[in-house]
């Protein structure tokens, strides 16, 4: 059992700083998802943990032991790769056996372990096939199998599901989560898919441009984003982030002016904000309800576009230069051109300052 700890980890490729002063801790039994858009440094961070990339500065501890100068093979980690990285000329069984060779096990033991893993991941029927004879989902399971066959200190997954189609991805997500919860080890998963992160992780670290933006539980990342980037990155459809001015403050009720529309929002607690300064408000498309009259507590606008989302619809509402989106039930029978009034649900409005950081009173 071991923890993974990164302290002020930095990686520069020439002038480009891929990972910038990252500090993180993954406890035993914890699944940390590194989440972020492509090129944000999440894979580089993972590769540094694995020892496949050397850090420019900073320290990596695995099980409280500094592994900075340890070779990959001496770190006792297991990793599943994005493109599976199966040896093309070896069968599934041989691929699975490969990590075991270093441990000097007998043939019997190796065979037993292969069958064990094959059972967990339902690979029994395909153990004698070569990688090119496998379907994507099977390759992916073999890649996971190769990672879990040994008893390493920690597990690393690099975009494990990115190559699967949507259905298979959903299925594998559950399966991997199940396998991981049985393993009870510190695990790091790299992904750009928020759904993957939200479902599989016990802790999510959102990264952007080499920096960690927020580390929280999946629920907090969604409900309490620290800044506009996290707010916009997590959740589909994307959160509406609108620029506004504060025109009046009355303890917890703040009157904001978004373009030429004035709306009063009750934040429940008083926030330290200044009158007449400009801020951003963030409201998720699902946090609106339709009300009959345009009063001070709601936004009004004309429906410009309606996107079909199955059981729900995504309405694009326009008011002069201001557009925002709202998810509504199909039962409202909305049409393009209708004027609707949308009231943000209580306690689901986020306020951010000019530089994008959240203003919260806790």
């Amino acid at each position: 059992m071991a923890t993974i700890e990164l302290q002020n980890l930095t990686k520069a490729f020439g002038d480009l700083i891929a990972v910038d002063n990252v500090s993180l801790k993954v406890e035993e039994n914890e699944v940390l998802c590194l989440l972020g858009p492509s090129g944000c440094g999440k894979t580089t961070t993972l590769r540094m943990v694995a020892g496949l990339e050397t850090a420019t500065s900073g320290d990596i501890f695995i099980g409280n032991k500094n592994v900075n100068n340890l070779d990959t093979r001496d770190r006792n980690l297991a990793m599943a790769f994005q493109f599976y990285a199966l040896y093309p000329s070896l069968t599934v069984a041989e691929n699975l056996a490969n990590p075991l060779h270093a441990d000097n096990l007998s043939d019997e033991e190796i065979k037993k372990k292969i069958l064990e893993v094959a059972d967990i991941l339902q690979l029994r029927e395909i153990v004698n096939r070569k990688p090119h004879q496998l379907a994507e989902g099977e390759k992916q399971r073999v890649a996971v199998g190769r990672a879990i066959i040994r008893d390493p200190e920690c597990f690393l997954f690099d975009e494990p599901l990115s190559r699967l189609d949507v259905q298979l991805r959903e299925q594998m997500r559950g399966q991997i989560k199940e396998v991981l919860s049985d393993l009870k080890k510190a695990t790091v998963i790299v992904t750009h898919d928020q759904l993957e992160a939200l479902t599989m992780a016990t802790k999510i670290a959102v990264m952007r441009d080499g920096l960690i933006e927020q580390v929280s539980s999946p629920h907090d990342i969604f409900a309490k984003p620290n800044n506009t980037f996290v707010a916009g990155f997590i959740g589909t459809p994307q959160m509406n982030i609108l620029e506004c001015n504060i025109s009046e403050i009355n303890s917890s009720i703040i009157k904001i002016k978004v373009l030429d529309q004035e709306v009063e929002i009750d934040f429940k607690t008083s926030l330290s904000v200044n009158k007449n300064d400009s801020y951003f408000i963030g409201i998720r498309p699902r946090s609106f309800e339709i009300v009959d009259n345009n009063t001070l507590d709601n936004f009004s606008g004309t429906i410009e576009l309606i996107e079909n989302m199955g059981s729900e619809i995504l309405v694009h509402v326009k008011n002069n230069h201001l557009t925002f989106r709202s998810v509504q039930s199909r039962s409202h029978k909305l049409k393009i051109g209708d004027v609707i009034n949308l009231k943000p649900k209580n306690g689901q409005v986020h306020l951010f300052n000019k530089s994008g950081e959240v203003i919260r009173n806790e």
């Binding site: 496949l52 990959t72 093979r73 990793m79 990285a85 000329s89 990590p99 060779h101 190769r146």
Partner: protein
């Protein structure tokens, strides 16, 4: 009409292709036929297509009467044949060994200014070799390398290196580095990553590179002429000497020599053809 498979050419294109292939192959065919003709048949006009084949020409390669004598003496040609095989083989092996290691380095552990180094390596192939012949000749004379196997093998290795490095680098570049990382995770050392994971995946590249390098070395004339002596001479200058030394060119003898000359290359290319096909089409067919 019989249905043909999708992508299969019709009889018109097939026969057209055969005609073109025949035109290309004709000189080779003519040489092979000439090798089996007697001297009078060779010189006959119009060319005789039907004749009694003879092995005299092949015999004369190895045993021939020298000027003003009727006695048949050994020409030492078997030695030149051996020299060619030995020198080409060794230099190709060396170039492949050094080239593969260098290419792996350039591909996996790029230096600052990696592309510049690669370009400089390529520039050595931009000059016609004859430009450097004088300094090289002098260097060989001073160092005592002239006329030795070591000298000419080193020369040819240097010749083949740029090409080997470039070609092997492109093969290494094409590999999925994740597999190498995966084997590192599985506990492989850097040495076993190279020999156990990378090399097996570039077999086709090794085959293609070695055949190209071999053909280049096998056919090389100029440096062999100047840097070898009677004992280390390779086939091309030896052949030129045989033919050029006589007043009347013996075309039958020449053709027989050419036949022998192309056999090794032909065999190797034939043996490696499966690998070669994958090798020379790299980059055009994606996995």
């Amino acid at each position: 009409m019989k249905k043909r498979a999708i992508g299969q050419a019709g009889w018109l294109w097939t026969s057209l292709a055969s005609v073109v292939a025949f035109i290309y192959f004709f000189p080779v065919l003519f040489i092979i036929l000439t090798a089996f003709r007697s001297r009078s048949d060779t010189l006959a006009t119009p060319p005789k297509w039907f004749f009694t084949p003879t092995f005299d020409n092949f015999y004369h390669i190895f045993f021939r009467s020298m000027a003003n004598s009727t006695e048949y003496v050994a020409t030492g040609f078997h030695m030149y044949f051996f020299n060619s095989i030995y020198i080409s083989g060794m230099s190709v092996l060396l170039a492949l060994l050094i080239g593969t290691l260098a290419a792996y380095g350039f591909s996996r552990h790029p230096l600052r200014g990696n592309d510049t180094y690669m370009f400089i390596i390529l520039t050595t192939r931009m000059l016609p070799p004859i430009i450097v012949i004088v300094p090289i000749f002098l260097i060989f004379r001073i160092t005592g390398l002239a006329g030795t196997y070591t000298g000419i093998i080193l020369m040819y290795t240097a010749f083949n290196l740029p090409f080997s490095i470039w070609m092997m680098k492109s093969f290494f570049d094409e590999l999925n580095t994740e597999i190498e990382d995966a084997s590192r995770m599985d506990g492989a050392s850097e040495r076993s990553v190279f020999f156990g994971v990378c090399i097996p995946q570039v077999k086709a590249g090794l085959a293609a590179t070695s055949v190209f390098a071999l053909i280049l070395t096998w056919n090389e004339f100029l440096f062999s002429l100047l840097l070898t002596n009677k004992l280390t001479r390779t086939m091309p200058p030896a052949m030129a000497r045989t033919i050029g030394g006589e007043i009347n060119v013996d075309y039958g003898l020449l053709a027989a020599m050419i036949c022998l000359f192309i056999i090794p290359i032909f065999l190797i290319t034939y043996l490696l053809q499966n690998q070669l096909l994958r090798g020379v089409t790299f980059g055009t067919i994606k996995k």
